[in-house]
């Protein structure tokens, strides 16, 4: 089984204030190549902390994360190198406001992958075409709608040709009418075989796209299974209570 996992998480803990607050309290799981894992749970449950730990935006207190066979929680590992292979999409987009869409997308490939500007722009425009925003390449982020911003944020991450994409509540800051366009891009990505870890409140998306669902509460995985198992026949009382509120 060991070699199967793209990301392997062992007994991950994240404590604040010297252990007074336990955001993550021992999470062990694995994410296989090509798998779409959706993480659900109440707010404050630790699901975002879990996701942000995967690329060490949150440095865990203890436990280990292995990505592509390399233990990235080891302080000696150059995390910057591994982050290039882990795309991330944020709730608030975090586009660079002082750069055009194209510059947003080509900055990292040019500086980090040492691509030429022509190469990087060609790749970027190709990706922009897939999300239908090629005509906005010279726009600044402030000229875009929320849905457009998030689609740009997704393709910006894809420009680095990542092996896994992490989504941190990608539709939570969007107006309702824009949620669909972002989810469509994500569905397409999943269909193409991208490994994805998605923290979301979009249960419809979870049902439709997820291979596996993790229900996190109190910093631990309370229950996990296929969408059918979790939504159709939840075992844990907490899961039942949570689902009855959101469905």
């Amino acid at each position: 089984m060991k070699g199967d996992y793209l990301i392997e998480v062992k007994d991950l803990k994240k404590h604040y204030n010297g252990g007074a607050i336990k955001a993550l309290n021992g999470i062990t799981t694995g994410i296989k190549k090509g798998e779409v894992v959706v993480v659900i749970g109440p707010s404050g449950s630790g699901k975002s902390t879990f996701l942000r730990s995967l690329n060490l935006l949150e440095v865990p207190t203890s436990g280990s994360i292995t990505f592509e066979g390399k233990e990235i929680t080891n302080p000696k590992t150059n995390i910057n190198l591994h982050r290039q292979k882990m795309g991330m999409v944020f709730q608030h987009f975090n586009l660079f406001p002082h750069m055009t869409v194209l510059k947003n997308m080509t900055l990292a490939p040019i500086k980090l992958l040492k691509k030429t500007q022509e190469e990087a722009e060609k790749d970027a425009i190709e990706l922009l075409n897939t999300v239908g925003l090629a005509d906005r390449k010279d726009a600044y982020p402030s000229q875009l709608s929320g849905g457009q911003k998030q689609r740009i944020a997704i393709v910006r991450a894809l420009c680095m040709k990542p092996d896994v994409m992490l989504f941190d509540e990608p539709t939570s800051a969007l107006d309702p009418e824009m949620v669909g366009e972002v989810l469509d891009v994500m569905k397409k990505l999943a269909k193409e075989g991208m490994t994805m870890v998605v923290v979301t409140h979009e249960m419809g998306f979870a049902k439709e796209v997820a291979n596996r669902i993790l229900f996190i509460d109190d910093g631990v995985i309370m229950e996990e299974g296929t969408p059918e198992e979790i939504f159709g026949n939840p075992q844990n009382e907490r899961t039942k209570a949570f689902l009855s509120k959101v469905l």
Partner: protein, 231 residues
């Protein structure tokens, strides 16, 4: 009309005879050199100090540097610039022949302390998500700072840096304390040789005022242009 003729004659004697206006021009040149040089030094020092202070937050290795920066900020902001000039000129660079670069360096070091806090506030005002986005793409902290945070921070603090330049321009008028013939000193010299107590001083004031007004105007234009790029 009598008084006007008299005034022109006076101006002629004060500024034109023995080419004394050249002293003013030379002085103005020194003032401008010192101001621009000091601002450049100030921005460089200020950026470095600001970055050290931001990075030292949560990095124990940088603690000694952080302490050093704090000492720098305290000493520079705690002593008058004239005293700093005297220290530079009469204690540190005793053998310096030309006071201009000593003055430039001193004003630069002085300005750096104020610019540092300005730039630091500019950095702190940038949303933390920008650093996270940069890091998530694989940039190091320093790279993210350079490519993503600083360009935005500079844009935000540009008006404050412009004000610093205006303040600096006026502050350099004390450079005369250390044998630098800047604009103010030049006017003072003409006053002493011609016994004209009025015109050299007024002319100096007018020149400072004109430059400050010009700078203010330029700053406004630059600001508007920078804003436009985001719309």
């Amino acid at each position: 009309m009598e008084w006007l003729n008299k005034w022109f004659a006076r101006l002629y004697r004060t500024f034109i005879v023995s080419d004394r206006y050249k002293t003013i021009i030379d002085g103005l040149e020194k003032t401008i050199i010192i101001t621009i040089g000091a601002l450049a030094i100030g921005v460089i020092i200020g950026t470095i100090v600001a970055m050290i202070k931001v990075f030292a937050d949560g990095n124990k290795k940088l603690k000694p540097l952080d302490v050093l920066c704090n000492i720098y900020l305290t000493v520079i902001r705690g002593t008058p610039v004239v005293v700093q000039l005297l220290i530079s000129f009469f204690i540190i660079f005793v053998s310096a022949k030309d006071g201009t670069w000593v003055a430039t360096l001193t004003f630069g070091i002085n300005s750096g302390a104020y610019v540092a806090e300005t730039i630091r506030s500019g950095i702190m005002a940038i949303d933390a998500g920008q650093m996270e986005a940069g890091r998530s793409l694989g940039f190091s902290r320093l790279q993210t700072m350079k490519e993503i945070i600083l360009p935005q921070a500079f844009k935000n603090v540009l008006p404050a840096i412009g004000n610093e330049m205006i303040a600096l321009l006026k502050e350099t008028s004390v450079a005369g304390y250390v044998a630098v013939t800047d604009l103010t000193k030049a006017a003072n010299q003409i006053k002493n040789t011609t016994y004209d107590q009025v015109n050299p001083i007024l002319l100096t004031a007018l020149i400072y005022l004109a430059i400050v007004m010009l700078l203010t105007k330029l700053l406004g234009v630059m600001e508007r242009r920078l804003r436009k790029s985001e719309r």
